[in-house]
Subunit: 453 residues, 2 copies
């Protein structure tokens, strides 16, 4: 464990986010109004989001977007985060590859989610908004937004997927300790929730359902906006601080990545680590591989359909051009709750369609095996979500050994797993399973969706 | 939350530990053999501890003890840790005081305990020892030693206080994920454990009992040593990296502390943050106050007897000169499990007796109130143990406000509370209590112990 950290100073926290939308040669198709099928304009998003977020969502012209001073100030609580050479892991794998990871687990809430939570809460505060609402799966995003909301003096209501609300009571307690209200979803507090509970009283919830409830609350509450933790362009934008810092740190290490890897749920941490490096591929000055590591049980990028689909279960959101398993897809109850989402953001989907990024799907048991090896060699117990990136990095490092090639691999450690120890318990006890999704299920879920291929 | 961090480079990790024993004018009395009442010599400790630890335990001559390169290399996983100016907390308290905290919660196991675990595991490995054993209360120490043992290739058995084993399953899972064996104490695997279970089948354990079991296992197993996480001199020695780093960082901040605070269980983190500053008091070049913050329910320093007592329940250890509540004292079931120990280390006890340090005892509800305010203003959810230091710092900051004086306060944030969220749940639900220990209980527990006052 002769780990070597590369540390930046607070002054080196990026001063601008990188907006890949401005540099993409093929831009994603616009979001559409589901009734009229007309492309959405920025103003169409104002009822739901802060104006600043709506503007960033649609901004296809500015490559660099300044980070407000108040947001940068709050980033200083834990940023810049370390870049670490995983020498212990390299030795255990006996690989010629050099493995680096960006350690986003050092944030006070234990994950990268705070990077966007702070920005979005700040924009709402600036615009005089008093209440915000969101959904959360495993609770990483909800915890981050709870802290950000408290800092800027906003009231926050979080719809938490019911299965996680019951299985991960500690993440709920974290949100409540920061002062947020947490509601198990589906709930009786919204029309969408009531409908689902009435039809299926035992339904344990999904991110799609929780989004429906949060959106409905925002639309029906005065001075209340909805805040999202992944999928959308402005969220990916805020997460680029990860890759921008990593770029400087790889320079300190004297290397440039051959492969960049992030786990994949809706795209926030993968975009964050990838886009700042991907811009050099776009400019033709680098030739890095980018790998999105998703769960075998929720394989939207590897096996989904490229189509227009809703972002939520009830169909409240605009239609988004995405790789999707269908907005009614019910993913298996894997422990990587943050990756249980049916679709990929529109930028990521376009990049995948154009061959600029790759994707792999990884069985749950392989992710826990990788996570345990990582914990024992690098000391940090990773979040089940992040373990997908580790498993993918290990595959690449073993391939480098087979080929006898020195490869430089960079992955994002999006969070630690200290709140997920019951998952490790199950793994060590031999109680975990893999979940393969049958082709027929994907086909039937996406049959009616308009293909973009 | 305009926090300001002060960050050192890896090169600035201390190269030597500070040994206060060499500089104390009144040295503590020696440990004694309970049968012969003779002072213990270094060799008497060889059956139990590594020789290096035994030597450090008795070293009253060398002020600086070099940190082995292998230990410093492993420190680099997370050290140096940040020093943070708690501006958010200062604002919330409307105090002229400047409050700083050393953030030891950033270690991969979430606490300062790794500082000594690494050193002790390294010494055992160097001496060809293959197996080690220890006790743990809340699990912070056990988690740290599990990681250190895995790194140096040692087998580890941890006796975990039964009440924590059942109430904090996540900490147990952390130890198992790192590859350690965890046994609920009292257990049937030792004579000491069997005796207690036979006499009282429902006994939920204590640190004193768990120490008895670990010591017995070490004494009866070939090539096995016992490793302790607090109380003893060599443990406090290893923890001085905390204060040595903090000293450099306070210099970066351009201030020197008027008050230094640590929570107090057996003394490890309090010694770590205090001793490097205390040496300037000893030299007559500073006049800082040092406050050990202990629980109202386990008030050894504020209300215990200065006497010779055993370090464990069964009486296996040498007699230690200490402030003690009696080695059979059964502390209330507070959530700060790491502070539930009947005695204070001999150095701390002597310093307290000589008026070089102070102590306060703090009710449980006050610690959780302080912890929640800290979480909401500084972002980090503190361990219940560390919350005692925060509560004490808040008392000092409010006094500074009353007196209209600018005071510089430094406390050690010994760990985060992400594994202790059930405690916060109980607090937010109004289910927690304070526990005051009656004088009669302390008197009767310590009546037969030889006073040193």
């Amino acid at each position: 464990m002769d780990t070597k950290k590369f540390i930046l100073t607070e002054k080196e926290i990026p001063t601008a986010w990188y907006n890949i939308l401005a540099e993409m040669k093929n831009k994603p198709r616009p979001m559409e109004n589901p009734q009229t099928k007309q492309p959405l304009k920025e103003e169409d998003l104002y009822p739901l989001f802060s104006r600043a977020a709506a503007h960033q969502e649609m901004n296809t012209t500015d490559t660099w977007i300044e980070i407000p001073e108040e947001v940068r100030d709050m980033y200083k609580i834990w940023r810049p985060t370390p870049l670490v050479r995983a020498i212990g892991l390299e030795k255990a794998l006996d690989t010629p590859a050099h493995i680096y990871f960006k350690n986003e687990s050092v944030s006070p809430v234990g994950s990268h989610k705070l990077n966007s939570a702070i920005a979005q809460a700040y924009f709402c505060k600036q615009e005089g908004i008093t209440n915000i609402t969101t959904e959360t799966g495993a609770g990483q995003w909800g915890a981050a937004l709870s802290l950000a909301a408290k800092h800027f003096g906003l009231e926050l209501a979080v719809y938490m997927v019911k299965v996680s609300y019951n299985q991960k009571p500690y993440r709920r307690s974290i949100m409540e300790t920061y002062g947020a209200e947490v509601i198990a979803s589906p709930s009786m507090s919204t029309r969408a929730g009531k409908k689902i509970i009435t039809e299926n009283p035992n339904y344990q919830g999904s991110l799609g359902t929780a989004i429906s409830e949060a959106v409905e609350l925002a639309m029906t509450t005065p001075n209340c906006k909805y805040v999202l933790g992944s999928v959308l362009n402005h969220v990916a934008l805020h997460q680029t601080v990860i890759g921008l810092e990593a770029e400087k740190q790889m320079e300190m290490a004297g290397e440039y990545p051959d492969i960049v890897i992030g786990c994949f749920g809706g795209g926030s941490n993968f975009s964050g680590i990838s886009f700042p490096f991907l811009r050099h591929n776009i400019a033709g000055t680098a030739n890095t591989r980018f790998i999105a590591a998703e769960p075998e049980s929720c394989p939207k990028l590897t096996r989904g359909k490229f189509c227009y689909d809703f972002g939520d279960e009830a169909g409240y959101t605009p239609l988004i051009p995405m790789y999707s398993l269908g907005h009614n897809f019910a993913p298996a109850n894997i422990h990587a709750g943050g990756l249980r989402y049916h679709g990929a953001g529109s930028v990521i989907s376009q990049l995948k369609h154009d061959g600029l990024i790759e994707a792999v799907d990884i069985p749950q048991l392989e992710t826990f095996k990788a996570a345990t090896l990582f914990a024992r060699t690098e000391g940090i117990i990773p979040a089940p979500e992040s373990s997908h990136a580790i498993a993918s990095a290990i595959r690449c490092a073993l391939q480098a050994r087979e080929e006898g090639k020195k490869k430089t691999i960079l992955f994002n450690l999006s969070g630690h797993g200290l709140i997920d120890m019951s998952a490790y318990d199950s793994y060590l006890a031999g109680d975990l399973n893999n979940y393969h999704v049958p082709d027929t299920e994907i086909d039937s879920n996406t049959a009616n969706l308009e293909s973009l291929a």
